[in-house]
């Protein structure tokens, strides 16, 4: 099964894999080989790609996933290996997201999304460091 991760800037990843765990908007979904065609909304969280013995882990932030013809394609705004996440930076991001003042529903949605994204970043950064 091919796994392709694309950001607006470049194709981050284009590899063979056995199993992929993808953070959807409401929880995780696991995709194995020859999965049925699927289109889903991504949330913020950890993308795990397993290929035989290797397990690689990325932080992805919003976007879509499309599974078709044994290829998993992730379109996402950001995809970084979790080892490159910075705890201090993501904590600062979380604090600023929490303080944001909102006036209408759309802004509230945005605020909640930002908080959620920052929380997952902090969690994954800790995980990468083994805390």
């Amino acid at each position: 099964m091919r796994c392709v991760v694309v950001t607006p800037e470049e194709t981050i990843l284009n590899v063979e894999s056995d199993f992929v765990a993808i953070p959807l908007y409401d929880g995780e979904i696991g995709i194995g080989g020859h999965h049925t065609p699927l289109v889903g909304r991504l949330g913020c969280g950890e993308l795990r790609i397993k290929d035989k013995e290797n397990l690689s882990s990325y932080y992805v932030e919003n976007g879509f996933v499309e599974v078709l013809n044994n290829t998993v394609t992730l379109l996402t705004n950001r995809a970084v290996p979790i080892s490159e996440l910075d705890i201090d930076k993501s904590t600062a991001l979380l604090n600023s997201a929490l303080k944001k003042f909102t006036k209408n529903e759309e802004q509230l949605d945005l605020k909640e999304q930002n908080i959620f994204a920052a929380r997952s970043q902090v969690r994954l950064a800790r995980k990468a460091k083994g805390e």
Binding site: E10, T11, D26, I29, P37, V39, G40, F64, Q107, L110
Partner: protein
């Protein structure tokens, strides 16, 4: 002697200018390749979004989204102009400044103070300041390689302001990449979005340029493997495990629903469009500079060769003069 010497001095100074323009041409070529590689790498995202939208529309989804709705009353308009930080690129900046100046005057007449002007690039900022117009916001940090994060920040602010009704319309003036030999200053409305991404948005960098996204390239063994997988898939299909329905329509599972996915596509399409404008601007700046500097170098070559002729002629004339002087002096002495 005086004439030949001035000609020589001129020739020297033009040679120096030629060296500079030649170097700038080489630098622009290198930067153009980099900018182009980035644009090509970025186009694969747009390509995939387009195919996703197509799949969604096959599933019979219609879109309604605040970013797509035309507002009944338009009070606040923002104009964003993308120029370069540096000059020496032919008519690149001038074209856009001319266009944006006209548009800005129109907007001012129509909306007065509620029109806001945003300029990226030192050239545009100073051109507007020269005419006594101070931009409301300006950016100089978008060099020839804008990152998505930088542009995304801008895009998020626009989306926020649009929800807030601080802006009702967002217009952009930039140079669009049409082909290697054709770029055009264009004026587009980004918000509200008139349409979602279309195939037109996929950058058409002709393959004859030999520009291919490195990561999208597949090795031969990978291709072979894929062919095998496809063959296996075909067998599965025959065995009745149909993946593709008749009529080519694919039965997707949607999480949570096609409608919801579409709603997420809309703001993303806007972000990507804005990012693409910046990338286009970067590529085109380098192309213009390359062309302008190439022309300048050729001009210098021409001038040097015509000065060479003039200098040689002057030198020859001088020598002839001197010989005449010597011989006539000799004859006067009664030789």
């Amino acid at each position: 002697m005086a004439k030949a010497r001035t000609l020589d001095r001129r020739r020297k100074s033009i040679r120096n200018t030629r060296k500079i323009t030649r170097t700038m041409e080489l630098v622009a070529t290198a930067q153009f390749r980099r900018a182009m590689d980035r644009a090509v790498a970025a186009s694969s995202y747009t390509k995939r979004i387009v195919s996703l939208v197509k799949d969604l529309s096959h599933a019979g989804v219609s879109v309604t989204h605040p970013l797509l709705e035309q507002r009944a009353e338009i009070k606040n308009v923002a104009l964003l102009v993308l120029t370069a930080n540096r000059g020496m690129c032919g008519g690149y900046n001038a074209n856009m400044i001319r266009m944006s100046m006209t548009r800005w005057h129109e907007l001012q007449q129509e909306f007065g103070d509620s029109a806001t002007l945003e300029i990226s690039g030192k050239r545009g900022i100073s051109a507007f300041r020269f005419r006594g117009i101070e931009p409301d916001l300006f950016y100089t940090h978008f060099e020839d390689k804008p990152t998505f994060d930088e542009v995304n920040e801008l895009a998020s602010r626009y989306i926020e302001e649009y929800y807030d009704e601080k802006i009702d319309r967002l217009e952009i003036i930039y140079t669009k990449f049409i082909s290697m030999s054709k770029q055009e200053a264009v004026h587009e409305t980004l918000l509200p979005m008139t349409e979602l991404v279309t195939e037109e948005d996929v950058l058409d960098y002709s393959p004859s340029n030999g520009i291919v996204d490195e990561k999208e390239k597949k090795s031969e063994s990978e291709l072979r493997k894929e062919a095998m997988i496809r063959a296996a898939q075909a067998k599965l299909d025959k065995a009745g495990v149909a993946v593709v329905r008749e009529g080519g329509e694919i039965p997707f599972d949607f999480y949570p629903s096609a409608q919801s996915v579409m709603e997420e596509v809309v703001p993303n399409a806007f972000r990507v469009k804005l990012f693409k404008s910046f990338l286009d601007a970067g590529v085109n700046e380098q192309i213009s500079r390359m062309v302008a500097m190439k022309a300048a170098t050729e001009n210098a070559d021409q001038m040097i060769s015509s000065l060479n002729t003039a200098y040689n002629r002057a030198r020859q004339g001088q020598i002839t003069n001197e010989i005449i002087e010597v011989t006539s002096g000799f004859q006067a002495l009664g030789g």
